[in-house]
């Protein structure tokens, strides 16, 4: 039997973790971030390194795997890896202070540099990684619907989805304008001056088109009763997967265990 339009736009995820309610995912990410910060305060070895952050990072790929989107999520982790590697490299070799741990020609690793390298680098990796998990497993449609259900104004949800659409439209349009300008002789290759000159004739028509077009969109929206007072109807329904409670309880228990561990370490000293 053919599906109706409303049935077609619904999102049905087979994976229970991927189908978690977006607000629950956010709560898990916040708990994870708190735990990460606590773990960062535990320093091991004589050089006082926050080494525990490294095994803790294993949780991020683990979450990717149980969500069933390991490859896709790892791919979007790429820019984060770049930033983290950059931070670690710069901090390790450049920041001075403390004992020299390792020396080779002009390169040397100092105690203080290694400390900040590991804790900053892995803080970024851990927290940004968990955000990646949340955002890769949730579609923007779900996020904007969740905004509305959590009591935010429907206009906020609209602006959110509309911005995403607009980015796609504008990216396409900028390509068109760039091609059009090229065909009438604007050069986009060459030295810096030439390339900088090409920027203006592309961005100006783009902004202008957006401004003039927005008036039409006001009329279109108003014609569909956008700012009407009263209850709004929805075609897309947000479902809960049924694992919300379990996942949240597990995360809370892990966080509490980490807090307990931290406190007992203080006592031991």
């Amino acid at each position: 039997m053919e599906k109706t339009f409303t049935e077609k736009i619904q999102i049905n995820k087979r994976n229970k973790i991927a189908g978690l309610y977006p607000a629950t995912k956010l709560q898990i990410v916040i708990l994870f971030s708190i735990s990460t910060l606590i773990i960062n305060s535990i320093k091991l070895t004589d050089a006082k390194l926050a080494l525990l952050l490294i095994p803790w990072f294993a949780l991020v790929p683990f979450m990717f795997a149980i969500t069933g989107e390991f490859k896709k999520s790892m791919k979007s982790m790429k820019p984060i890896f770049v930033v983290a590697i950059f931070i670690i490299a710069v901090q390790t070799f450049i920041v001075s202070g403390g004992q020299t741990l390792w020396h080779w020609h002009f390169l040397s690793i100092r105690e203080k540099g290694l400390q900040t390298a590991i804790s900053l680098g892995f803080l970024v990796l851990n927290i940004a990684g968990m955000f990646t998990w949340m955002l890769q497993s949730t579609s923007t449609k779900e996020i904007s619907r969740c905004f509305e259900e959590s009591g935010m104004n429907f206009k906020v949800a609209y602006i959110f989805t509309s911005s995403l659409e607009m980015i796609k439209v504008f990216s396409k349009r900028s390509q068109t304008i760039l091609d059009a300008q090229r065909s009438r002789g604007v050069e986009t290759e060459g030295n810096l001056k030439v390339r900088a000159k090409a920027f203006f004739p592309t961005i100006v028509p783009l902004i202008l088109g957006g401004i003039i077009g927005s008036e039409d969109r006001v009329l279109t929206l108003e014609a569909r009763g956008f700012s009407i007072k009263g209850e709004h109807t929805h075609l897309f329904d947000l479902k809960k997967s049924g694992y919300e409670r379990r996942m949240l309880v597990v995360s809370i228990i892990i966080t509490l265990l980490i807090i307990a561990g931290r406190i007992s370490l203080w006592r031991m000293k």
Binding site: V83, F86, I87, M166, I211
Partner: protein, 211 residues
């Protein structure tokens, strides 16, 4: 509007239907501006043109929302951007505040505005970059910062020194682009925005006629 009476601004009026629809345009312009700058291999980010444009037309609050939303949406692809949300908000607020006081209609006034905008952005970005990322974020300018740091410069000084120059330049170009666009928007569109009347062409003549 005559010269003597000043327009009263209110947040509720700021977020008119048109302002709400201009926010997505601003976000998209930010995004495409940054993309285009890297496509043309320009040494600047140019990813706040949309925020500045919206703030110039609709005031600080709408501008701040544009900045916030841009970083939330780019953060979906790269969560590092979440850390820079305050920078984006401040860019919108500062530009909007200048727009409210009619700083973009006389050349020496917008020159002042640009320098302050550049300073505001670098001062708001510095604590985030230094304390959260240890001075480097993986961009092109970071390499210069890292070189200065290796030469023994203070981490704050190295960051503000290198990024400061790029930031002021970035703001100057962004404002010039926005002014160029505003110049060609017809009056009938301009007056619908809360700060639009400052950019209306032939202001004096129109004021005389309406009087």
């Amino acid at each position: 509007m005559t010269k003597n009476e000043r327009k009263q601004f209110s947040i509720k009026e700021d977020f008119s239907m048109l302002a709400l629809l201009i926010i997505p345009v601003g976000v998209a312009v930010n995004f495409v501006g940054g993309q285009l700058a890297s496509l043309l291999r320009l040494p600047l980010y140019l990813d706040t043109i949309g925020t500045i444009f919206v703030a110039m037309l609709c005031g600080p609050w709408v501008g701040a929302i544009t900045g916030l939303l841009t970083n939330i949406l780019t953060g979906i692809a790269n969560p590092v951007n979440f850390a820079f949300i305050p920078v984006a908000i401040i860019a919108g607020l500062v530009t909007g505040a200048f727009a409210r006081h009619d700083y973009f209609s006389v050349w020496w006034k917008w020159l002042i505005a640009m320098v302050v905008m550049g300073a505001a952005s670098i001062l708001s970005a510095a604590p985030i970059v230094v304390l959260m990322f240890g001075g480097v974020t993986g961009s092109g300018a970071s390499l210069i910062t890292a070189t200065f740091m290796a030469a023994g410069a203070n981490i704050w000084g190295a960051f503000i020194g290198t990024e400061g120059l790029f930031n002021v330049l970035d703001r100057i170009i962004s404002v010039l682009i926005c002014l160029a666009v505003i110049k060609v928007i017809p009056n009938r569109n301009l007056i619908k925005f809360s700060c639009g009347m400052f950019y209306v062409k032939d202001r004096e003549e129109i004021a005389e006629v309406t009087e």
